[in-house]
């Protein structure tokens, strides 16, 4: 029988080693796998390369890993927010490296990583500072940049509901980077509100098919357990 559920988030991230590349979903606080991030902080792995769109928008986000000096490199589109102060300091002292990528190129590079496309040409960022030094080529009279796939050793994502096989559905705009990151990591770990029986989700409504999801952490059952222990 297929079992992807882990007892808790600490177990689910326990094997993430130093120097891993970790894709972290979410757009601001929406769809942010905050328990998995906290567990990764407790795991303590260092030298991490983090791929995540917003850095610093919320306190429980990737900023916490930067503060904890676990991060070597950030790949993102929007590295500013109330909680990015340390990032700015670390960037200036060279403690953290930043690769700034336009949001659509970031999403597309991750998609390419998941889809077996090694590189692609996009018009975005041509003739800009972010295109400097990149290989370029003209298609349809328009300059394009060659952009390379991004893959992760791990993806930490957030979804609303899962089944035992690992199928996922999301709540509203919680989807954002989560489904695409799910496709692009060796090991995708999803933090979900609840795990339902296989067959309880409609085949038409599944957003991340089971093939992309390797580990599940259920928030509801832990809260349930917490209540029992506290009760």
């Amino acid at each position: 029988m297929i079992h992807k559920k882990y007892e808790n988030e600490e177990h689910a991230v326990a094997d993430i080693p130093n120097d891993s590349t970790v894709l972290v979903g979410g757009f601001g606080g929406s769809g942010l796998p905050s328990r998995l991030i906290t567990a990764l902080k407790e795991n303590g792995a260092t030298g991490l390369t983090i791929v995540s769109n917003n850095i610093g928008a919320v306190s429980e986000g990737v900023a916490t890993l930067i503060s904890n000096q676990q991060v070597k490199k950030i790949i993102c589109s929007f590295p500013v927010g109330p909680h990015a102060n340390e990032l700015i300091e670390y960037l200036e002292t060279g403690r953290v490296e930043l690769e700034l990528v336009p949001q659509g190129t970031l999403a597309e590079r991750i998609r390419a990583g998941g889809a077996g496309i090694s590189a692609f040409y996009t018009p975005t960022a041509a003739h800009t500072e972010l295109g400097e030094g990149k290989e370029s080529r003209v298609f349809n009279n328009r300059e394009h940049l060659l952009e390379y796939a991004i893959t992760g050793d791990y993806a930490l994502i957030k979804a609303h509901r899962a089944d035992r096989w690992g199928n996922l559905v999301y709540r509203k705009a919680q989807r954002n980077f989560n489904p695409v990151m799910a496709t692009a990591a060796q090991t995708t770990i999803a933090e979900v509100d609840e795990i339902v029986e296989v067959g309880d989700m409609s085949a038409e409504e599944i957003i991340s098919p089971s093939v992309y999801v390797h580990r599940l952490v259920e928030i509801a059952s832990q809260e349930e357990r917490g209540k029992v222990q506290n009760g």
Binding site: F27, G28, G29, S30, G31, N53, A57, S77, F78, P79, V80, A84, L87, I88, L91, E92, L98, L100, V101, P102, Q103, G104, T105, A107, E108, I110, R111, T122, P123, T124, A125, A126, H127, T128, E129, L130, Y170, R171, K172, A173, Q174, R175, N176, F177, N178, P179, V180, I207
Partner: protein, 229 residues
Amino acid sequence: MVRPYEELNGWTIPEVAGRIAAELEEGWFVNLGIGLPTLVGEALPEGKEVILHSENGILGIGPRKHTGETDSDLVNAGKEPITLLPGGSFFSQSESFAMIRGGHLDAAVLGAFQVSMRGDIASWKLPNASLGRVGGAMDLTVGSKRVFVFMKHCTREGTSKIVEECAFPLTAPRAVDRIYTELAVIDVTDGGLVVQDLAPDVEFEEVQACTAAPLQNRNVKKHSKVSEG
């Protein structure tokens, strides 16, 4: 007499937002950038079907929520709580930018630090800043069928944001179609910047005086208190 920028009373920001909202056509799919452009959504006439897109994977966003319970999974690109209209849909970030880059949006209304006379736009990084925040700006300027800039005409210091050449890092070259400021509506054409409309009580010469690029006065429909009264 040509008055300086700080003495000019142009349109109010809500008036500009309303003007843009009126010019977005029924059935258009439109992305509104963070900041001033967000106001255009609030200014859309009731019942006018302009479908608003948000980078984080939403089509059909409704008015921002001012009161009541907020839903952290229903926010716009500025992470502000919003509502979803009937007919709205959710999709992933890769689909959202496929939509943008693939030319499916009829227009993007964006803010900017500078716009050049050729339609170059600089909107993601201040010069010498250690960090830029590019977000979706480069994709939107490159992919949208029309790029409208909604910005104040000058900085707080009175420096023109419309320039001959952008001094700030570019978001995209030759991307902007039209500029909306509190003083004028200006089209970027192959022949240069053309003022299409002026705010009431503002003279073309006054707008030119606070604009660091040559303007043309073609097709100006002049408003004045007299003609309006």
